[in-house]
């Protein structure tokens, strides 16, 4: 059988959203990679001079292929490369105690993110001593094991973190706050370990390109201004005297209000706790976490007022092993359930078995591959991306390459 290749047609490219998304992601990835390579080749940016100014950056390109449902607003059932992530930061130590810095971040994940560059964090950090410091500005929110670091693909074996706890399409809601943190460590002696604390208060916003906004748009509530509200909370983690064992707990209080041309949403303060533990010994890493994220909001569309109640409870257990210096493998199980609804329905739960591998080509370049065995459709799926409905079970393959310095 002879398959004739279609003639190249620029209109075809322009009209095909999949090709358009692919070419845009590819161009973006290559552009960012070249930019970062130029910066590193110049050499002066990487803090090897007498100046205290330091520049770091990362860029990654992902690919998703799912067996049935379309995941994270991508056409993943056809295979989608619409996943590019990049950040660059600059920081300067003005004195022994005072440091200032800023990180710019942009990402494209299906329909989320986009070409707009966002300030990921921008803060001044005054460390009075090892027991007390103040960080003010836009600050990453410490919650659970990974909330503040969930964007930094280069530090993880996993391509997708457990989505019940760190939902990638809803991250802007929890990721950072404009306000301040107090932090420090209490050294409890050789037999007591070290206690690290972080307390914060400020204002958090939901980005207009976030998954919550898309979910509201799917039910007819289209926001043109960001939603936001006050937030406060803290994290306490104990580096135990058992070398490598850390136990901790976080709490977050968050309120959200937003008004759209056709209605509004109001979420009074809600309490989200997290409890976690991690253990590292040699080549082995183990971690587990339990989280609860309740939402008890009131949604108004036109004259209709209805409650939006979600009692999200999730836990995960993960383990990894460094097989070789540059090769790591691991697995995790993630469980999520909405206790406020019928948990037997696939739309109200999500279980995910994950197997991952990571290969570091050198200190800067890495490649990852990951397989997901999903049961339930509570997380990561959108009506508009799956107009024909959802299958309760799905398998997914994710791959990523990245560069960082």
């Amino acid at each position: 059988m002879i398959v004739e290749a279609p003639a190249y047609d620029s209109d075809h490219l322009r009209d095909n959203p999949k090709l358009k998304g692919f070419s845009r992601c590819l161009c973006l990835f290559i552009f960012l990679l070249i930019l970062i390579c130029i910066c590193t080749c110049k050499g002066s940016l990487y803090a090897q001079d007498s100046s205290a100014i330091v520049v770091h950056a990362y860029v990654s390109q992902g690919f998703l292929y799912s067996s049935t449902n379309n995941y994270l607003s991508m056409k993943s059932s056809d295979g989608s490369p619409q996943w590019t992530d990049a950040a660059v930061n600059i920081s300067d130590s003005l004195s022994d105690n005072l440091r200032v810095g800023m990180q710019l971040h942009m990402y494209q994940l299906g329909e989320f993110g986009g070409s707009n560059v966002q300030v990921d964090w921008a803060s001044g950090d005054y460390r009075v001593n090892d027991h007390f410091g103040i960080r003010a500005g836009k600050v990453k929110t410490v919650w659970g094991l990974f909330n503040d670091s969930q964007d930094i693909d280069a530090v993880f074996l996993w391509i997708l973190l457990p989505q019940g706890s760190y939902s990638i399409d809803h991250k802007s809601f929890y990721l950072a706050h404009i306000g301040g943190d107090v932090y420090g460590g209490l050294f409890l002696g050789k037999r007591g370990g070290t206690l690290h604390y972080d307390g914060y208060a400020g204002q958090a916003t939901v980005d207009l390109n976030d998954g919550y906004i898309k979910q509201f748009a799917d039910i007819g509530l289209v926001f043109t201004n960001s939603l936001g509200g006050k937030t406060y909370g803290g994290d306490l983690r104990w580096e135990t005297p058992v070398r490598g064992l850390t136990i901790g707990s976080s709490a977050n209080m968050q309120a959200v209000d937003g008004t759209a041309p056709t209605g509004s949403v109001h979420l009074p303060e809600s309490f989200a706790p997290s409890m976690y533990a991690s253990f590292t010994k040699g080549k082995v890493y183990l971690a587990g976490e339990y989280d609860r994220i309740p939402i008890n909001a009131t949604v108004t569309i036109g004259t209709a007022v209805f409650p939006l109640v979600v009692d999200g409870r999730s836990w995960f257990a993960m383990g990894s092993y460094q097989l070789r210096k540059n090769f790591q493998v691991g697995s995790y199980y993630s469980h999520y359930v909405n206790k406020a609804a019928d948990t037997t329905q696939p739309a109200n739960h999500s279980n995910d078995w994950v197997v991952s591998a990571r290969y570091d080509l050198n200190a800067y370049f890495y490649a990852k591959i990951e397989s997901h065995f999903l049961h339930g459709t509570a997380l990561g799926y959108y009506t508009s991306s799956n107009p024909n409905g959802l299958s309760p079970d799905s398998r997914m393959l994710a791959a990523k390459i990245g560069f960082t310095f």
Partner: protein, 142 residues
């Protein structure tokens, strides 16, 4: 027979050099202005992981590292308790979350020694040191 002997000799030489590499130790160096003469392993780990910024006498500590090599690996494994990859990953997490700045890293031991000699509070490690190097030796204690 001769080939077998050569192979056995080669094996012993390889094992010998491997065990020497494993057993290699490092010398802890600090700026001459640093007042302490010894430092606990726990403090070394805390200073190089960024959770402590001061020596036990309260003075400011500036940790510096090599970019790679046997001395770097031996120091991280023996004193910090981390593999180089894990050490780099931990610091990247700190840097990209805006919680700190990575220690300065040097291509060569001579560059590291020059920096330590010129920077108040600096502390690092090298595989060997000569008397003309104007740095102070620190003893690590359990």
């Amino acid at each position: 027979m001769r080939t077998a002997r050569c192979l056995i000799l080669l094996l012993f030489v390889s094992l010998g050099s491997w065990s020497m590499a494993r057993a290699q130790n490092v010398v802890l160096v600090a700026n001459e202005g640093v007042r302490i003469t010894e430092i606990s392993n726990a403090d070394l780990r805390a200073i190089f992981m960024g959770t402590k910024t001061r020596f036990s006498d309260g003075s400011h500590a500036v940790p510096v590292t090599l970019k790679g090599g046997p001395a770097h690996e031996v120091f991280l494994r023996n004193y910090v308790g981390e593999a180089p990859e894990e050490f780099r990953s931990q610091w990247r997490k700190v840097v990209f979350t805006g919680q700190g700045a990575m220690p300065k890293a040097f291509d060569s031991e001579s560059a590291l020694i020059d920096y330590v000699a010129a920077t108040p509070g600096a502390v690092g490690y090298v595989s060997r040191i000569s008397p003309k190097n104007r740095v102070k030796l620190l003893a690590a204690v359990k």
